[in-house]
């Protein structure tokens, strides 16, 4: 026993000694040559969340496309929306990062705090709202016109409803969509409304019922919400939440589903229709190149479907109605050409009336005051005044909260 213990002790001590020697000081931050360039990414969860996985895949692909080596790209996963985010950002700066990106809405004020402190480092934040009013030179927001993608995915849903009506599976009045939303928040309301408008553009009798889970990621709650909508007579489900709960519920019940962020065909081969997603790779390539070259990054950037930032995943031909792809392609061409607007005010009513004016809360303030007129030229100008969505009209006629 004694012998064993002394060997163990020697092992501990030698390991400690080696570890001590291997420690190296962190290199100070400094731009200059390409080899010195480093970029750091902060993610709320890890790849088990579809939301974060979408960002992580884009970050890796963008780094590769920009010719960065593994040593030049640092990932910090599982970073809470708290002081931990500031610390993660500051540690990345200590490691020599010239650019730091964070992916979650709640990271924003901590990223801003870091940006004010480390003025020679660029800070980019997805889904935030403060950059265009704070005007801190090295702090930037970005989003994408995902409502365009939702609209197109809605067309696939509408076509499916039409097919079900034609086959006599449902009546025209029974074309009821169920929508599982995360929070009663502009980003979610904008998404659900554009999805519904897309569906109604091909299936006039479509209605939609919405329920919220009050969580961005909760597999059990999302599944339960989808099931309760199905029990209420919804014949097609879509969702804005980050887990696979709703698609799985749909596969169990044989109800068609339109998803978000990732293709769900592999987990729900008999019910998955299509998904819309944001492709962050072009934005990430842009900020990496701009930081390297010392050119300016826009304060608030919102690319859309014509920029390749909004995409639809593969259409599941086993589930989709005939002619769906053609209908989507036609609408997409019109969106790109600017001849079709998702929130065309002649296409929807609120309490039976067409809206001609709407003040949205675009500039962030403590009281959440509506401050900007966003309806003109016959449509609601979503994501033009600010990258993060601000369409929060609850609800246009045809949509009801459960």
């Amino acid at each position: 026993m004694k012998k064993f213990l002394s060997i163990a002790l020697i092992l501990v001590m030698s390991l400690g000694l080696l570890a001590g020697c291997a420690g190296e000081p962190a290199t100070p931050s400094g731009g200059g040559s390409d080899a010195d360039f480093k970029v750091g990414f902060i993610f709320l969860h890890d790849e088990n969340s579809t939301y974060d996985k979408n960002f992580m895949d884009a970050a890796s692909a963008a780094a590769k496309a920009c010719g960065l080596t593994d040593d030049q790209v640092l990932f910090k996963t599982g970073i809470d929306e708290s002081d931990a985010c500031y610390n993660a950002a500051a540690e990345l700066v200590d490691e020599g990062c010239d650019l730091v990106f964070a992916d979650s809405f709640g990271h924003e004020s901590y990223m801003l705090q870091a940006a004010k402190e480390f003025t020679d480092v660029q800070f980019c934040h997805a889904t935030g709202t403060m950059a265009h009013t704070e005007k801190v030179a090295n702090f930037h927001n970005a989003f994408a016109s995902i409502y365009e993608g939702r609209y197109l995915a809605g067309i696939a849903a509408g076509m499916k409803l039409n097919e079900m009506i034609e086959k006599g599976q449902i009546t025209a009045d029974g074309a009821k969509i169920g929508y599982v939303g995360a929070f009663d928040y502009a980003e979610v309301v904008s998404g659900m409304t554009s999805f519904y408008l897309g569906a109604r553009s091909v299936c006039e009798s479509a209605t939609m019922s919405v329920t919220y889970t009050n969580s961005w990621f909760d597999i059990a709650l999302e599944k339960e919400a989808a099931l309760s909508l199905i029990n209420d007579g919804c014949v097609l489900i879509s969702q804005h939440a980050d887990s696979e709960g709703a698609p799985k519920a749909c596969e169990e019940k044989g109800v068609p589903n339109v998803a978000y962020n990732i293709s769900t065909i592999s987990m729900a081969p008999n019910t998955a229709l299509i998904s819309s997603k944001i492709n962050w790779q072009p934005y990430m390539e842009m900020i990496i190149n701009a930081t390297k070259d010392g050119t300016e990054i826009p304060f608030d950037y919102c690319p859309g479907i014509k920029d390749g930032a909004v995409e639809l995943t593969e259409l599941n031909s086993a589930v989709a109605a005939a002619g769906t792809q053609e209908a989507i392609d036609a609408a997409k061409a019109e969106l790109e050409a600017g001849t079709l607007h998702v929130f065309d005010t002649s296409k929807f009513t609120v309490n039976g009336e067409t809206i001609t004016s709407y003040m949205a809360d675009v500039d962030t303030d403590d009281a959440f005051t509506p401050d900007t007129e966003v309806v003109s030229d016959g449509y609601f100008h979503e994501s033009e005044k600010r990258s993060a969505p601000y369409f929060d009209i609850k609800y246009i006629d045809g949509i009801t909260a459960k």
Partner: protein, 367 residues
């Protein structure tokens, strides 16, 4: 043992140790850590192909690599220790307070509420006093509810305190929903520009005040449990309620008082987390520390001094795990596996400190 009752002895027999000399028990612990490191090395080589020495040095850098990392480690250590100290009197009394998470959360919520409603209308010092009082009250109430039911109707405190955590989480969600009408469910930094209600930085170190406060609480708790009459009463109630009753201790009062203290300290932790660290409130502000604290407290044998070491070990491993994940582009889970192995050995070795394994003696040696 008489010849009649003698039966064959098993190959391995476990018996209680009478108490190991301190240096021997620490040798056992050191050996356990060494074994854990060796096993981790094997796993690192097998599943990642990295050099384990490099991985371990990254782990150490997670806490000691830069001045910033060192301060973050101290801050995390202080917070975990504060909550561990809070649950300790309850556990010493054998009152299973699984509700520290919720007690910290309501404490933080109270501070956030004062910061949100008062804003910059009051001088900082007064504001901080109000925030602290609100957090103390919230923590005490949250802990006293299950304690009252336990003392009065002998309800199961484990379930009760656990359930109170969920209520606290929902309460935080509810208030965030009221405070943030946009529905984003994110509070953001409260009073980011006015810094109203933020704890001051000492010597330019934003965490220093937190650390000093917890250091004071640590010393106070050590003295309280070891030398005060109340500390003694807690030990007696923990060892045997009947003995306590027999010698005239009012058990109900001790339960209520001790849980009140436990909740008050959790409230302080919530106050420090909101006013001193995060300057926001989320449903994850306590971040699971209310549960980790239980492990810290038991590993530290309810001794405030040893708990400094045990919370350091946990925080060191957590920070190291994060560093490994970033440095080697590994999934955080790999780092968590390593942390788990090391903790398993540290906890497991206590068995060998307390018990010894006897091999069957050969027949010749027997009688």
């Amino acid at each position: 043992m008489s010849e009649k009752t003698k039966h064959s002895e098993p190959l391995l027999r476990i018996s209680k140790r009478d108490g190991l000399i301190w240096w021997k028990s620490w040798l056992v612990r050191a050996a356990a850590v060494a074994l854990a490191l060796v096993l981790c090395s094997v796993i690192i080589i097998l599943i990642t192909g990295y050099n384990p020495v490099q991985v371990y040095s990254a782990m150490i850098r997670g806490s000691f690599g830069t001045a910033r990392k060192f301060w973050i480690m101290l801050q995390n250590l202080a917070m975990l220790l504060c909550i561990s100290l809070a649950v300790t009197p309850a556990f010493k009394m054998r009152f299973w307070n699984i509700g520290a998470e919720g007690q910290v959360l309501v404490g933080g919520l109270a501070t956030a509420a004062v910061m949100f409603y008062v804003g910059d209308r009051l001088p900082t010092a007064l504001m901080i006093v109000i925030m602290l009082a609100a957090s103390l009250a919230a923590g005490i109430i949250w802990a006293m509810i299950p304690a009252f039911f336990k003392a009065k109707w002998n309800t199961n405190e484990t379930l009760f305190t656990l359930m109170m955590n969920y209520v606290a989480t929902q309460l935080v969600s509810f208030f965030i929903m009221i405070w943030v009408p946009s529905g984003s469910s994110v509070m953001g930094i409260i009073n980011q520009n006015s810094r109203a209600g933020w704890l001051p930085e000492l010597f330019g170190q934003k965490y220093l005040l937190n650390i000093i406060i917890v250091a004071v609480i640590t010393v106070a708790m050590f003295i309280y449990l070891k030398y005060s009459k109340q500390g003694y009463e807690i030990s007696v109630v923990g060892e045997s309620e009947n003995t306590a009753k027999y010698i005239g201790i009012n058990v109900k009062r001790v339960i209520l008082r001790t849980m009140g203290l436990s909740g008050a300290l959790c409230g302080v932790a919530g106050f420090l987390l909101v006013a001193g660290t995060n300057h926001t409130i989320t449903t994850t502000t306590a971040g699971g520390m209310g549960f980790t604290a239980i492990m810290v407290s038991w590993l530290g044998k309810f001794n405030a001094g040893i708990m400094v070491v045990t919370s350091f070990i946990i925080v060191f491993l957590q920070r190291g795990a994060g560093e490994i994940a970033t440095k080697f582009n590994l999934n955080q889970s790999v780092a968590d596996i390593l942390t788990g192995i090391i903790l398993f050995f540290i906890i497991g070795c206590e068995f060998f400190v307390n018990y010894k394994i006897n091999l069957r003696k050969s027949q010749k040696e027997g009688k």
